[in-house]
Amino acid sequence: MKDFMLIFKGTDYSGLGLSPDEIQAKMGKWFVWVEKLQQQDRYVSGEALEAVGKTVKSADTVIDGPFAETKEVVGGYFVVKAEDIDDAASLCVDFPDFDLGSWVEVREVVVFEG
């Protein structure tokens, strides 16, 4: 098994008019997905990212952004174990935010031999 990073991209949740109940239901779907990955011993780690930040273009160019309004903001990532890239991609069928127009970028974590 190798490590793969699942990078969550798309819209931030704000500005979608989600009600408290809808947000809670959405959270329930995340719990189910994480639990499933953990039970299959696939889940390694993960983090969520704030939607706003800074972009450093060079040593003396630091600009604001990305902003929450950006449609391609990175919302977070999981590191999972999988046989190969197709296997890793298949773990994303339960990603809870497809309905909000978000998607997952699947990338293999490079292992440096040495």
């Binding site: 949740y13 989600l18 408290p20 109940d21 995340w30 953990q38």
Partner: protein, 415 residues
């Protein structure tokens, strides 16, 4: 702690926390900054959604309130929110200090102020219901629309218009004093009564959201009953009424979501615990010689709740209660319901004669109820033809599938 329990959240936790958070923060920042407060609260939920993926904090409600509070302070620092000071300050909020506002008793107090503000007379009844559901109960636009069987667009407009009015009229977050108190309590109770009925009576739509609507109405009514300013005979009676009805929630729907009439309900399915809670509140309502409509309706529901079987119903008591109810609440529905009791007590012929004096036109939109009662009275009088023709008329007017199924089943039983 295993991973499962680590991730479980109480049903509708976010929804009920929403009402609490909006109540506390609007008290702190003033009702005129409602929009920013709503943003801050929404932001706290979104923050939770992102950061709880792999584990829920030990006290989720506290975490949310703390996060909203921190975000509000952040907005304060950036000059986007303003604390109310000097002449515009809410004297209560200033006197007890910010930290105290987050204590449980103050949160209840803030919630009650919010409900009272939502039921301010600048808004009409339908607007009051929608705004209360959104701000005090944390229902979203889609949920309000589903619960009230109204289009989303209509609800959205209604909420926008209401908030505009609240702003223009500078509605304060307070429980009014003196002469205004009684009339405002009346509005609050009316809104809660109507909200409960929306969930309980209408048989169309999504059953889960209707149950939520009833539960919310009961939660808010309980708040009203627990506050020294708003507690009243009517509030207790309304709470009792809701308990008696809610106790029958499951028994009145069959396996196929068809309505089951009181006479045919399996009374062992009634929630006895809720019925006894109802008795406690009804006893507290202590009405004196001039019982209000709430007290009478609760007393009527109590009579049904204590009858072991339909045949054991004390129709004599019920008729006395209905006779008094008709005096204080002369609606076509009350008069129609009274006729069923009258028929049981004095015979169907007496009731049919009175039915003739009821104006069928006052039932526009609910003709199926009029014809259903008429069919029942004809049945009791042994007039199968009259029963059939009225059931057919009722069927042609029935709005929901569960009503249609009920009427069809009765038609089948006489063929």
């Amino acid at each position: 702690m295993d991973s499962r329990s680590h991730r479980e959240l109480v049903d509708h936790l976010f929804r009920s926390e929403y009402g609490r958070m909006v109540a506390v923060l609007t008290r702190l920042f003033g009702f005129e900054q409602l929009e920013l407060v709503e943003d801050v609260v929404q932001d706290a939920f979104v923050h939770a959604l992102r950061s709880w993926r792999t584990g829920v904090p030990p006290n989720p409600g506290g975490w949310l309130m703390q996060t909203a509070r921190n975000r509000a302070i952040d907005q304060l620092r950036r000059g986007k929110l303003h604390l109310k000071f000097a002449s515009t300050v809410d004297p209560g909020a200033a006197a007890i200090g910010m930290a105290d506002l987050f204590h449980e008793s103050e949160i209840s107090d803030s919630q009650l102020r919010l409900i009272f503000a939502c039921c301010h007379p600048v808004l009409d009844e339908r607007d009051q219901i929608a705004v209360t559901l959104q701000l005090a109960s944390g229902f979203g636009v889609r949920e309000i629309a589903r619960a009230l069987l109204t289009r989303e667009e209509t609800i959205k407009k209604r909420l926008q218009r209401s908030k505009q009015r609240i702003k223009e009229a500078a509605v304060k977050l307070e429980i009014p004093a003196g002469a205004q108190l009684k009339s405002r309590v009346d509005s609050v109770l009316k809104v809660l009564y109507l909200t409960f009925n929306e969930g309980y009576l209408a048989s169309a739509g999504d059953a889960a959201i209707r149950r939520d609507l009833c539960a919310e109405a009961m939660r808010l009514t309980k708040l009203v009953c627990e506050h020294p300013m708003s507690i009243s005979s009517d509030a207790n009676a309304l709470m009792a009424l809701m308990c008696y009805h809610a106790a029958r929630f499951d028994a009145r729907l069959g396996d196929n979501n068809e309505l089951i009439l009181l006479a045919d309900q399996d009374r062992s399915k009634w929630d006895k615990e809720l019925v006894s809670v109802g008795h406690v509140y009804l006893a507290r309502s202590n009405p004196g010689d001039n019982p209000s409509a709430y007290v009478l309706e609760a007393a009527i529901a109590a009579q049904h709740s204590v009858a072991e079987a339909y045949g054991d119903t004390r129709w004599d008591y019920l008729l006395t209660l209905y006779d008094r109810l008709v005096e204080v609440k002369t609606t076509a529905f009350v008069r129609l319901n009274r006729l069923v009791v009258l028929a049981e007590q004095r015979g169907a012929d007496v009731a049919l004669r009175e039915l003739a004096s009821l104006d069928a036109e006052s039932f526009v939109g609910n003709e199926h109820l009029y014809h259903s009662v008429s069919a029942r009275l004809h049945e009791m009088a042994g007039d199968t033809e009259g029963q059939r023709s009225n059931l057919e008329k009722a069927l042609s007017h029935a709005a929901s599938s569960s009503e249609r199924r009920l009427i069809e089943a009765r038609l089948l039983s006489i063929r």
